[in-house]
């Protein structure tokens, strides 16, 4: 059994599903699971973390922590992890987790394994697997030298988190020293899509250049909104200006691993396949029966996406209404 410390992520007072996934997994693997929760006025989230298996919630609350900053986060996390002699420290490989965890590793003088898709706890040690070359290969990675072991974990890799109503966590309030910070977050302009990020969504509906223009992506948005999904795009569609780069799935965009990936009009260049092939179920819709995307698809439809996709939206609606 290891003493595992997990850094929680919250935005606007709501915990990320990826955080609950880590807490639930660590706890069900029999670890003494601690959570470090940073923010301003976030004490109310400790109860939820307890339900998902946190034994202790270390609460860091300050106005300076209202908006995330790598500098403040890494400082607080390093102190807590040191003070409690953590064996393992985990964060999600989200824009936040990937930003501050290397600084914690550097300050502690230990290794960090990034973007892991599999964690194996062995006593107080940790072995991980992570995709490299955007998923063209999988690496088994071991840590060298003394711990703690640090890892960031790809969202949706460890299975759905399960709450146990009635469980509670002990809450410890931290005393903070946040003077002398060299960075300041001035503002966060919210994205207004209302859809999840492609890296965090359980379902991703993606389109390629065959969509022909930005306007036609509304078809995919309609399917995505029925399913609570994110909208992704191939590099070709992004380069053509149909979607912003933040939606690009592939080796030079984002690597995703959702439960369901629906590729519409994407031929399946090697760089794109690398970015989505670890998805649990892959659907391909393409007019070319020879398109490489069909080699990785669990379900394939050879057809005209302009007819199939609107029909799909209707069918998904029926399922969701039942």
């Amino acid at each position: 059994m290891a003493k595992v410390f997990i850094i929680a992520e919250q935005r606007d007072g709501r915990l990320k599903k990826a955080t609950l996934e880590l807490v639930s997994y660590s706890s069900t693997q029999g670890n003494e699971t601690h959570v470090i929760l940073l923010g301003d006025n976030v004490a109310g989230l400790a109860g939820e973390l307890g339900q998902y298996g946190a034994k202790v919630v270390h609460l860091a609350q300050a106005p300076e922590l209202k908006l995330y900053s790598a500098e403040a986060t890494s400082r607080v996390v390093t102190e807590v992890v040191r003070a409690h002699a953590a064996d393992i420290v985990l964060a999600s490989h989200t824009p936040t987790g990937r930003d501050f965890m290397p600084r914690v590793a550097g300050r502690l003088g230990v290794g960090l394994a990034s973007d892991c898709t599999q964690l194996t706890f062995q006593g107080t040690d940790l072995q991980v697997r992570r995709p490299v070359y955007a998923g063209k290969a999988l690496a088994e990675v071991e840590f060298v030298g003394p711990g703690p072991r640090l890892a960031t974990v790809r969202a949706n890799s460890l299975g759905a988190p399960k709450p146990e109503p009635g469980r509670t966590a002990e809450v410890v309030n931290l005393t903070l020293n946040l003077s002398g910070l060299k960075t300041r977050v001035l503002e966060v302009a919210q994205g207004n899509t209302g859809r999840p990020d492609v890296t965090e969504a359980s379902i991703v509906v993606s389109g390629g250049r065959s969509l022909k223009n930005a306007e036609n992506f509304k078809m995919l948005e309609e399917v995505a909104d029925v399913l609570g999904a994110a909208v992704g795009a191939s590099r070709a569609a992004v380069d053509a200006g149909y979607r912003p780069h933040r939606d690009q799935v592939g080796q030079t965009g984002k690597v995703v691993s959702p439960t369901l990936y629906v590729a519409c009009g994407i031929s399946g260049a090697i760089q794109h396949l690398a970015g989505m092939r670890t998805s649990k179920v892959i659907v391909a819709i393409n007019s070319d029966p020879e398109a490489p995307i069909f080699q990785v698809a669990d379900y394939g439809i050879v057809g005209d996406l302009f007819q199939v996709v609107p029909a799909l939206a209707q069918e998904f609606k029926k399922v969701k209404e039942h």
């Binding site: 990675v141 001035l186 439809i301």
Partner: protein
């Protein structure tokens, strides 16, 4: 200003990855090596900042085996002034690379800005930039889409999830990790490619930058290629039938919706 860029050489994205005989590393024969895509935005940003501040220089650094000198030459051909190659073994981890690059930067005259790409497209770890900043005790801003360079500080727009944009102010000296969209990288012109061949690339050894084998903190035990996928089901019929059958299969068989 003393402007520096740390870059990584990686296999071209078209590369079909093959493994070496004992599956501990990739088989590098026949690989075409390129400058990691995001690093091109870092180089371009450094050149633009230099050109706005007369008297400034751009130094490009890369750590790795001898082949990475080609990546440095590419950056010199784009217009960088000097290059530094730090010799590291192929198997060096992010920590070793960061320590080597930070060690080399500490030997330079006072550095104002370090530019990097937000991640390398080979291991995709997104660690080395922040580690360099940590070892230099600089603040860092990653995934930067836009930057305004003031006299005391830099104001950056950085991309976070779901299309949200954070505006962050960081004091000099600072490390900035570039995201695609920060600028439009230039192509090297032929005369500049010729000139780049004559520019100096300084070589440093691990001992020169205070790095040893004990700085390796993670190690790849083995590599595997992803298992081939079973042939999937093709769904026949007209569009309405196909859509209906697909949704039934996703609901009843795959149980994902």
């Amino acid at each position: 200003m003393n402007i520096t860029v740390c870059i990584k050489q990686v296999p071209d994205t078209e590369t079909r990855i093959k493994l070496n005989a004992d599956s501990t590393w990739i088989d590098t024969t026949g690989i075409k090596w390129i400058v990691s895509s995001y690093d091109e935005f870092a180089i371009e940003e450094a050149l633009r900042l230099r050109d706005k501040n007369p008297g400034s220089t751009v130094t490009v650094l890369s750590a790795g085996p001898l082949r990475v000198v080609d990546a440095i030459r590419n950056a010199l051909a784009m217009g960088a002034d000097n290059g530094i190659h730090i010799e590291l073994p192929e198997s060096a981890d992010n920590n070793m690379a960061a320590k080597a690059l930070a060690g080399a930067l500490k030997k330079e005259a006072k550095v104002d800005v370090v530019f990097t790409g937000k991640e390398a497209i080979d291991d995709g770890a997104a660690q080395t930039s922040q580690l360099i900043a940590e070892y230099l005790d600089f603040p860092h801003v990653t995934v930067v889409l836009g930057a305004e360079y003031g006299p005391e500080s830099i104001k950056c727009r950085r991309e976070v999830e779901g299309g949200a944009i954070e505006v962050v102010e960081a004091q000099y000296p600072v490390l900035i990790a570039a995201q695609k969209g920060l600028n439009e990288p230039r192509y090297a012109s032929l005369p500049n490619i010729m000139k780049a061949k004559k520019k100096e690339v300084k070589v440093l050894k691990m001992a020169d930058v205070g790095v040893s084998e004990s700085d390796q903190k993670i190690r790849i035990k083995s590599l595997q290629l992803p298992p081939p996928k079973q042939a999937g089901k093709k769904i026949a019929g007209d569009a309405a039938t196909q859509a209906q059958e697909l949704v039934r299969l996703l609901h009843e068989e795959a149980k994902v919706v």
